[in-house]
Each structure stands twice: as structure tokens, then as C-alpha cells.
Amino acid sequence: MSERDDELDRLLEPLKNAQLSPGQVARWQALAKRKTRASVISREWGTRALQMTAAAFIGFVLGALVFKNRQEFQQVASNFDSTATIESVYLKSN
């Protein structure tokens, strides 16, 4: 059984045949493109911010592991000699 009612369709004809103005669909498509592009940019920024936060966190964790306490840090610093190579400073510290 058809779901359409011919009489009702005739009554609604002026609205059914409504013409779009030139460029109307193109404007909607451009709007969608702008929104899509904006979302891609915000997603890229979001990824970058996440990467930087993760890098900073890893930096803190590594720093904490290397210099577990102030004393060890001070020991390394006291052994430091401006003319010494990094290898000799590490040899002295260990």
C-alpha cells in the first residue's frame, strides 16, 4: 500500500517544489568544510598539548630517578670540576 496521499501531495505542492537560491547548497557545503577544518586543527593542537604534557611528566620522573635525593645531587655537584670531562665527574661520584 502506498504511503503517499495524492490529494495531500497536491496541497503541499508549492512547498515541495520550493526552489533553492543559487549557491545555497554550496554555502552549506562550505560551512561543513569550515567546521571540519576547524575540528582537524583543534585535534592537532590537542595532540600537541598532550605530547608536551607527557614529555614534561617523563622529564620529571627521569629527573626524580637520577637525583633521588638532595645529597646525591650535592655529591655530584661537589665532585664537579669545570676542567674535568663528564666521564671523570661520573668516575669520581661512583
Binding site: 495531500l8 496541497l11 512547498l15 537560491s21 557545503q29 561543513a32 568544510k33 567546521k35 571540519t36
Partner: protein
């Protein structure tokens, strides 16, 4: 964003249908605004992964959004009384003016229908959705959609005949 979707194609197909959907209750300028609003909301929801293709077509999902946009806009219109462009001072070409007047007459007749009859007509107009699908969006059985359509038709006939006899 779901990159597999071709938005140009979707909007070329969906845009005119949404436009006619809004044209049942609003003038052409407002209908255009509401199509844009629906597209923006649709894009946001697809991006937020709120649309699940396994649960239904994008088309039906878009009409579901349009239904809410229409309800919100009607609520705002009640407070601000949007002026019909055919009655406004904006100069329009003769052809566009005639068209707006024809829509205006039909819209005035539709405006006298009950809210649910207007909603059913908006979905029915383009023939994009089955009565079953209209029923799902409006949360009423398909048989009720059919009876609302029948009553809307009878009321529209009476309204339009009375407008013609007045002229």
C-alpha cells in the same frame, strides 16, 4: 571526525530536504538559518561519535536533530515573533515575492494545525522518511502518523478553500 563520510555529497543530498522540512513552518530566510544550525549540530555529533551507523541511517539521525532544532526555534519564535519575509520591507524580485506569498498562504494554513500535525507534515513533505520512520522520531505509532496526516489534510483543505473564497 569520521573521515570516511563525504560531506559534500551528504549535504547536497540532505540540505534541500532539510530546507523543505523547515519551510513548512518558517520563511525561506529562517529555513536557511535552521538548515545551517542542523548541519553544525550534525557535524558536532558525528565528530563526538554520538552517531552510530549500526543504529540507523545518517539521514534519519539528521532529521531527528532537525526535529529538535525546529522545536527550539518555534519556542524562540513565540517570544520574538519572527517576521515573515513576504510581509517585511526587504525588497524582493517579483518572482521571489510571488513564491514567498504562495508559501506564506500555505504556511498560514499549516500554522492553524495542531503542533503534532505540523510536525508530521514537515516530515511527510519530502517523502524522505516512511511513516514508520516518522513515528520513530516522534515516538508515536505509524498508524497514528497516518491519522494525523489525514486530519491535517482535511483541515488544510478547509483552510485553503476559505482563504480562496475570501480573496
Amino acid at each position: 571526525m569520521n573521515d570516511s563520510l563525504d560531506w559534500d555529497e551528504i549535504i547536497a543530498d540532505l540540505g534541500p530536504a532539510l530546507y523543505r522540512f523547515f519551510l513548512v513552518s518558517f520563511d525561506s530566510v529562517r529555513a536557511d538559518d535552521l538548515v545551517q544550525e542542523t548541519i553544525i549540530r550534525l557535524l558536532d555529533k558525528v565528530r563526538a561519535k554520538k552517531f552510530d551507523p549500526n543504529r540507523g541511517h545518517l539521514r534519519m539521525y539528521a532529521f531527528g536533530i532537525a526535529h529538535f532544532v525546529r522545536i527550539e526555534s518555534r519556542r524562540i519564535s513565540q517570544h520574538h515573533e519572527y517576521q515573515d519575509i513576504a510581509m517585511s520591507d526587504v525588497p524582493l524580485p517579483d518572482e521571489a515575492l510571488d513564491r514567498e506569498r504562495t508559501y506564506g498562504r500555505l504556511r498560514s494554513a499549516i500554522a492553524n494545525l495542531s503542533e503534532v500535525q505540523q510536525q508530521v507534515l514537515s516530515f511527510y513533505l519530502d517523502g524522505e522518511l516512511s511513516l514508520q520512520q516518522i513515528g520513530v522520531i516522534l515516538e508515536i505509532p505509524a498508524a497514528t502518523v497516518r491519522s494525523h496526516l489525514h486530519r491535517a489534510k482535511e483541515a488544510l483543505k478547509t483552510e485553503l478553500i476559505s482563504v480562496q473564497t475570501e480573496r
